[in-house]
């Protein structure tokens, strides 16, 4: 029998990875701060892919031995998968270490929206990806200001085949049809029947919740944990519910 299965295929996909922004070339200080951060959430950082951002460092004209920083990161169980904002010699070193180089793009351009280009969501800046900052130990760490992602309000029905993406919370007053897909980095509120797919906390916010008046969804997901309609409990089907994550389990609870 002939084997007609192809050996491989290419597909396009998007992944999220933390970005490590360096503010100093002091390797000892970097290592110490990294250990502190990792101790806060060892599971989160363990074997995590990482992109190294050298723009700040190069702005200050601080030179960095790229090979050494890679060795350091690997030692503390990160997997550096990219560099951006590096100078010529840093890029050269990265290439020698088989680390891809990303050319710096403008931020706030990642608007994902289906056919409804006129939705308010299109005007929203996209939230910044998860970032880890390393500062000089002598200077108090300044937290990155949170991106002001306001709620997106949609009043017309979301029909089959439409996709809505909100950088913050997503509030929908009309029905969401089967075959539609609504996604939010924050919470999702549907003050009507939810028949399509609803994905809250798409950037990994495990505290995000989904609220809806009438649960008939094809799929619900919070921070990547999902359930399909087949797994939905009959008792909550067709009821007003809230959905949240508890110990990596999706809890669907009726709102009385």
């Amino acid at each position: 029998m002939l084997n007609t299965t192809p050996a491989l295929e290419f597909k396009s996909s998007t992944f999220f990875a933390p970005i490590l922004i360096l503010y100093t070339n002091d390797l000892a200080a970097i290592e110490q701060t990294l250990h502190e951060k990792i101790n806060l959430a060892p599971e989160f950082f363990k074997d995590s892919p990482l992109i190294i951002d050298l723009r700040e460092l190069n702005k200050q004209n601080q030179d960095l031995d790229f090979t050494q920083i890679i060795q350091l990161l690997r030692r503390v169980s990160f997997f550096p998968v990219g560099i951006r904002g590096g100078n010529e010699s840093q890029n050269k070193q990265a290439r020698a270490l088989f680390i891809p180089i990303d050319t710096v793009r403008e931020q706030g351009s990642s608007i994902i929206i289906g056919e409804s280009q006129k939705q308010e969501a299109a005007q929203q800046p996209a939230a910044q990806p998860e970032t880890v900052t390393i500062k000089e130990p002598s200077i108090r760490p300044v937290p990155i200001p949170p991106v002001a992602a306001t709620a997106t309000l949609v009043t017309q029905p979301i029909r089959s085949g439409q996709r809505i993406y909100a950088a913050g919370d997503l509030i929908i007053l009309s029905q969401v049809s089967a075959g539609a897909e609504i996604m939010a980095e924050g919470n999702i509120h549907v003050y009507n029947t939810l028949r399509g797919r609803a994905l809250a906390g798409v950037h990994g916010n495990t505290a995000a919740r989904i609220f809806c008046f009438d649960l008939q969804a094809e799929l619900i997901s919070i921070a990547g944990d999902y359930k399909t309609s087949e797994d939905l409990n009959k008792q909550t089907y067709n009821h007003p519910v809230q959905i949240y994550l508890q110990n990596h389990a999706l809890i669907i609870k009726e709102i009385a």
């Binding site: 006129k118 017309q156 029905p157 029909r159 089967a178 075959g179």
Partner: protein
């Protein structure tokens, strides 16, 4: 300025062309000068339903390409002198349609006509998208079955986002539901979706229910829009649709079906 109506559905075989022919004829019969355009380039059907297939010389694509004038291509209906048909080309495909060309033809028709009915092809590709792009009103033709309802829902999403009105941020296209091939007996038996089932998903303004009727097929074969068959239920239902569209308040008929003689005698099937 003419009012542009698109008759659309997503799914094929639900009755778009039958509906286009019927409502175009209905509007013309009510005294409004109406043009009906077949957008199904390559699968020309409207001329058959309207019984003018032997008078087609030039078509929509010829007009778009400037090979014929609009007056040369428009065919006046033999039953009503206020109805004109712009047939599709049978030898071309949908790629021959351009947004610019369609816009130009519609602009020119708008000067002279009160209503322009665009008979959309099935699918969500170029032909269907261009048929709805310039529309003011949409008649969404749906059969009472789940795949047709789903496709109509998809079409409604496209209507609200890919039309000229949506692109220009104007008042959205007015969407109406037309439930066709409705068989009240099968609804009662649970074999077909009921009006409520369909409306739960689509929630649209209902323009009318067209009952499943043998007269539709015989009218099509005879090349006469079913609305001219005033004795048939489907013909009456289309007449109601046109009247409601023009603002008349009429109660909806054909939801419950008629009580047959045997049914009355034996108290119906269980």
């Amino acid at each position: 300025m003419a009012r542009i109506i698109v008759v659309t559905s997503g799914k094929g075989g639900v009755g778009k062309t039958t509906t286009s022919a019927a409502i175009a004829m209905g509007l013309a019969k009510k005294g409004h000068k109406t043009a009906v355009i077949d957008f199904d380039v390559g699968l020309r059907n409207l001329d058959l339903i309207l019984g003018c297939e032997r008078r087609v010389v030039y078509d929509f694509i010829n007009v778009i390409n400037g090979e014929a004038s609009l007056n040369q291509a428009l065919i006046r209906d033999k039953n009503c002198n206020l109805l004109y048909i712009l047939p599709a080309s049978q030898t071309r495909d949908k790629d021959a349609l351009t947004q610019e060309g369609v816009g130009k033809v519609l602009d020119e028709l708008s000067k002279d006509f009160e209503y322009i009915v665009c008979d959309s092809p099935a699918g969500i590709e170029k032909g269907a998208n261009l048929a709805l792009y310039f529309a003011d009103d949409a008649f969404v033709v749906t059969n009472p079955e789940i795949s047709s309802v789903r496709d109509s829902d998809r079409m409604l999403g496209i209507l609200s986002s890919k039309s000229r009105r949506a692109e220009r941020n104007e008042e959205p296209i007015k969407e109406y539901l037309l439930l066709t091939r409705y068989d009240a007996d099968r609804v009662k038996l649970g074999e077909m979706l009921s009006l409520e089932d369909v409306q739960e998903i689509l929630s649209l303004e209902l323009l009318g229910i067209i009952p499943e009727s043998k007269s539709v097929l015989s009218a099509s074969n005879a090349g006469m829009p079913v609305i001219l068959d005033e004795k048939s239920e489907a013909g009456q239902a289309y007449a109601d649709v046109v009247a409601r569209y023009l603002g008349e308040k009429l109660p909806h008929r054909f939801i419950d079906g008629k009580q047959g003689f045997l049914r009355r005698l034996f108290g119906g099937r269980k």
